[in-house]
Amino acid sequence: MSVTQDDVRRIARLARIAEPADRLDSLTNELNGILDWVEQLNEVDVTGVEPMTTPVQTPLPLRADEITDGGKRDDILANAPKAEEGFFVVPKSVE
């Protein structure tokens, strides 16, 4: 499987990164280099092998469904690029 410059444009769009126009050629080559290199995983027979999602098996912890945190509006807004009157200010997203 190899990627084309159009694929890289499409992936960048999916990743919400502005089209890297000046690096499109080199990025396409680099991505293909990495993808070719990981192809070697196809040598491994993984028939019947369960995918591994966590290194150390521990039971998923449960806790009582109680409020343990909150009331931190100002803390949460403290790092906002734009905030007004207790709200985040964002570009218009609904017409």
């Binding site: 499987m1 990627v3 991505l31 290199w37 995983l41 491994v44 290194p55 790092n79 906002a80």
Partner: protein, 493 residues
């Protein structure tokens, strides 16, 4: 006058207890050394002399009352990936410029609770993606070590390169790092330090900027194995705020350091002998095995046939998780925003300008391998190979107590020397370290010798999950035999 930069963590704690000096004196000396070195080494993103003095005063008062904690009065350098309350935390990225968390990471909170003194944050590869600390938004970090007769600037390794450079320069008494593919152990090896990555889940990830959540391991750098054991012990423990945090008790890692290796079986995996590896590394590895044998361990040849697949699997899993984790940097709630024509344009401009090239490359790879039609072929496949790698280790640990390998396939290299190389060449730095992240098992690097240019080399000890004690016992035995006392000749600040 005490040469503060020469002291180990245990030395400084002993000196404080004996009132040879105060925590304020230690903090002032540390800040002075940090400020003097910064111009040449560029290892800090932030130095805070006032906070250091304030915490040191409180520490002195606590010690006077006989209530000193395990690290009381010792300044510890903090990698810029750990959230420290109201202190700029950028992950060495422009996208987080100005971000001051209103929370404290669990690991740093544990350090402060034990009395450690904050004095500054250390540079790193942007979002911990790199092996040379050249991708930091604040520029490359310089290794205090230089080759004999050369003034070429070398990398300190990465991603925790600022922590490694600072501690190797004698600044502070321990440092935090994070290790996703080798980011503590590789810089430790490049700078003549000890670096440990405990079992996945031992140290909470809460409050640490995420890179690849199933592979991210917080851990420490120390000047000695015992220093490193104490730091690991303090940083470990169950944290309800991290659902992958290990709920069991933390073992006594400090006592384990002097336990010895008599009767232990040490595995030497033949797959870690790679083409083009300098003969000095091979020789050091053999010497390491000999040292352990002389102290009563039995050396056993073992095979870990899946080794060569660990790095390619990593370069699917880590970018996949990173592309998901880094989706949060959208310029809306925190971090930098670059205004665009509309919402999507704002997202795209913010991320294109905020992330550096290596981070963008990995986000793109991750987005691709998770995209419709490719998920099974890449991501799911890599997760299955991941289990095969873990099974390799599990089978090996049926017959041996620990595994000994080199930490890196080379010594520190020149800044910029890999700039035109294929990205994969840089990735290969982690070839020996990444396997322990894939399997989530404890691993540490111990400085063991110098190459012909006078640059430090490390040996790696790997043990089974949750067995940090054996790791520190073997590390202690290696340190004892190696007698590694070399320090970089001071040319900075």
């Amino acid at each position: 006058m005490t040469e503060f930069t020469q002291l180990s963590l245990f030395d400084v704690l002993e000196g404080l207890e004996k009132k040879d000096f105060s925590a304020v004196e230690v903090a002032e000396a540390t800040v002075k050394a940090a400020e003097a070195a910064q111009g040449a080494l560029n290892c800090f993103t932030f130095i805070d002399g006032d906070k250091a003095k304030e915490m040191a005063q409180v520490s002195d008062a606590r010690r006077a009352k006989g209530e000193a904690g395990a690290l009381d009065g010792a300044p510890i350098a903090i990698k810029d990936l750990f959230g420290v309350y109201d202190v700029e935390t950028t992950a060495s990225s422009n996208i987080l410029k100005g971000f001051k968390p209103r929370y404290e990471s669990t690991v740093t909170q544990k350090l402060w609770d034990a009395g450690a003194v904050f004095f500054g944050k250390t540079s790193m590869d942007e979002f911990a993606m790199g092996s040379s600390n050249e991708t930091a938004a604040t520029g490359p970090v310089v290794n205090p070590w230089r080759a004999k007769g050369s003034d070429e600037k070398l990398v300190p390794g990465g991603s925790s390169g600022g922590s490694a450079a600072a501690l190797a320069a004698g600044i502070s008494y321990g440092a935090t790092g994070t290790d996703t593919g080798g980011s503590i152990r590789q810089p430790a090896a490049f700078t003549g330090l000890v670096g440990a990555k405990p079992t996945y889940g031992r140290c909470s990830r809460w409050g640490v900027v995420a890179f690849a959540s199933s592979l991210d391991h917080p851990g420490p750098f120390g000047k000695t194995v015992k220093d490193t054991a104490l730091l690991t012990q303090v940083m470990s423990g169950h944290d309800p705020k991290d659902s992958t945090s290990y709920p069991g008790a933390v073992p006594d890692m400090v006592s384990a350091v002097s336990r010895g290796v008599k009767g232990l079986k040490i595995g030497i995996p033949k797959e870690y002998r790679v083409d083009g590896m300098p003969s000095a590394i091979d020789a050091l590895w053999e010497k390491g095995a000999q040292w352990l044998k002389e102290q009563g361990a039995e050396i056993v040849e073992i095979s870990l046939p899946m080794t060569k697949y660990a790095l390619p699997a990593y370069y699917i899993i880590a970018p996949a998780e990173a592309s998901s984790n880094l989706a949060r940097y959208d310029g809306m709630r925190f971090g930098q925003r670059v205004e665009g024509e509309d919402l999507i344009d704002t997202y795209e401009k913010t991320r294109a300008q905020g992330f550096g090239n290596e981070v963008q490359r990995r986000i793109l790879i991750g987005t691709y391998v998770l995209s419709a039609g490719y998920y099974d072929a890449y991501y799911l496949k890599a997760l299955k190979v991941r289990r095969k790698i873990l099974e390799d280790f599990n089978a090996a640990f049926e017959g041996v107590d620990a595994i000994l390998t080199p930490t890196t396939p080379s010594a520190a290299f020149g800044i910029g020397s890999k700039a035109d190389a294929d990205p994969i060449e840089m990735y290969l730095n982690d070839i020996f370290t990444v396997t322990a992240n894939i399997a989530g098992i404890p691993a540490m690097s111990v400085p063991a010798g110098l190459d012909k240019n006078g640059l430090p080399l490390g040996l790696q000890v790997i043990t089974k999950a949750l067995d940090e004690e054996t790791m520190f016992a073997v590390g202690g035995a290696l340190e004892h035999a190696a007698g590694f006392t070399a320090k970089p000749e001071q040319w900075w600040g």
